[in-house]
Symmetry: C2
Subunit: 359 residues, 2 copies
């Protein structure tokens, strides 16, 4: 059984067969197939052209990629799917279907939607999420914001993904201080608000951040897999032991369809919740793309837990009813700047957000 | 002094100022600037709009990004340069200028062109490079190919970047066997051919591969930074201690200008030689793009060693004179499939390649 990868290619009909065969060679043996003598390589390693179908003014070519060529490892899987052809602007990767059992090499989310519901104690309703911003703020300011958001009853407070390990709020100072502020507010309210700090940097930095987070009882992690690198993201999960919320930063620089990358692949690689730019905000994803991302995150997949979709990017409290109607119950709504704009009315605005979601 | 990042934006002239300011907020504080009370954040953290210039039917917007916001770390630098706006298809990142001294946080290539010339003993002429292919071949076949290429006098023999750690030629078996074959040929010829195996996978796998490579005396490494992740690529260099040849797989070509990513940024992050798809082969980079990649790799940059450009991707021995005329002496020409197609005439074809470059 092959991995079925579908590419949308801008090519004339007369050339579509030759282009598909060239892509099959490019994405597997990367040499002229005629120069290969080994029958095993020709039959078992060279990618097959499974189908060529017109799609609008382009062609959808589905290749059959031999699972063995991926070494069942993330960087090599991404290489086989979109390594060289990422450099060919006429080619987009639009979907991938894995053979049954392939997912066991990765395992997918360790917690998924159920694990996040258990952690936050939220059942039967969507979750709420907000962000600590802006970067450049001193730690005390971020901790105070977190305290206010937790008092308002927001379920998950994440760092802005721009809060990394800068001198103005280093991870080792910021994360314990914010976690303490959230713990205090939880004691006041009896709530279970969870803090998700940003993990960034190289493997050694990530391990150190995981140690600090564990020490102060952090409940969740925010990671941008395309910034730290997918294999590093996967290895981090083994030492984290808490649910991971993925951020799509830098994920748009390659021509991989967002439902595939932010939904299906991030899920395969272990995201428990996946942030994506909702339509009608600061980003231009269509409503259909967003619906498909949520579908890839939550739909049934043998052996791989469903993932919480997290629409974001310029959302407001006013849009909550519409978002709930679109995404249903298994969703976490993320409003960051839309709350912070309330300034001195932050607590009230936070409470309005929570009330709108609970309504 | 700010980092000057230039973005090419598809926007109407009437909206170009507002779009530039929105991008400045998106790529720094990621919230409405009006909601920020802290004067330090407004003055020192929010990205500035330095210029807006028409470019064909689009606008080149240069932002001033505060170096402190990058935490002087690669994943956060890429986040500040192209994190969120990678998700805005109307935005491309076309150039970055770093303030003097910024490069000290990274250090750039440890070896660069001079280091590779010392390693290979090649002075006063371009270098030659070829690739072991196809994946799926048994280790003995790859070792035999390497032996033949080394007999032909090719300077650097790299793994195909699709040779990762698959069961048909696992790193731990393949790399010692190929290195032995190259060593043998070097003893026969008195040459100094160097082998560059593919490093892939997560941080733990990379460390283990570095250990194996060190044990058997491997002289160079092939790494695709966008597949293993840039921060992981950087951390690997510290344990490798040998020059690194970067591969552009998964580096996508559309939204970060190739001269910036494959030339300038890979150089900042430590590449000693950088492979890119030459014009007129299987990829559609223009001659001008290729010239600019080579320029970004080799041009004078205070404190950062020059990097060897490696044009590749469907090149042939027949094109050697033209490539030498384009790229001059400080270049390494990579011909893979173009040699392998010679089959039983492989040794002769390799010798013709070497002779053409030495001519």
């Amino acid at each position: 059984m092959r991995i079925l990868a579908t590419y949308r290619i801008a090519v004339a009909e007369a050339e579509s067969r030759a282009r598909a065969e060239a892509l099959a060679a490019e994405q597997s043996v990367e040499m002229p197939v005629a120069a290969i003598d080994d029958p095993h390589v020709r039959d078992e390693i060279v990618a097959t052209v499974e189908s060529i179908r017109p799609h609008a003014d382009r062609f959808d070519v589905t290749l059959g990629i031999a699972p063995a060529t991926t070494g069942h490892e993330a960087s090599q899987l991404m290489n086989m799917l979109f390594g060289n052809c990422s450099l060919q602007p006429e080619v987009e990767l639009v979907d991938v279907k894995f053979p049954d059992g392939y997912e066991r090499a990765f395992g997918g989310p360790r917690f998924g939607i159920d694990g996040i519901r258990t952690l936050t104690g939220v059942t039967g309703r969507p979750l709420t999420c907000t962000a600590l911003k802006p970067q450049g703020s001193p730690v005390a300011h971020l901790a105070k914001l977190a305290h206010t958001f937790a008092l308002a009853g927001i379920d998950v407070i994440k760092d802005d993904h721009g809060l990394a390990n800068q001198p103005f709020s280093p991870f080792a100072e910021r994360v314990p201080a914010v976690q303490r502020a959230v713990d205090e507010a939880n004691r006041e309210t009896g709530g279970r608000t969870v803090y998700a700090p940003t993990f960034s940097g190289g493997p050694a930095a990530l391990r150190e951040q995981a140690r600090i987070a564990r020490e102060c009882g952090v409940g969740m992690a925010l990671v941008a897999p395309m910034l730290v690198g997918i294999p590093s993201f996967i290895e981090l999960q083994a030492v984290l032991g808490i649910p991971v919320l993925t951020h799509p930063a830098f994920a748009g620089s390659v021509r991989v369809a967002p439902p595939l990358l932010l939904g299906k692949l991030f899920r395969l690689f272990g995201a428990d919740a996946t942030i994506f730019p909702n339509h009608g905000g600061r980003f231009s994803f269509s409503a259909e793309t967003c619906r498909r991302i949520a579908n890839c995150a939550r739909s049934s997949w043998q052996g791989v837990r469903p993932v919480l979709p997290v629409p974001a990017g310029g959302m407001t409290v006013e849009r909550v009813p519409e978002m709930l109607a679109s995404y249903g119950t298994d969703v976490m709504l993320l409003i960051g700047g839309g709350l912070l704009s309330a300034k001195e009315r932050l607590l009230e605005r936070g409470r309005e957000f929570v009330a709108a979601v609970r309504a």
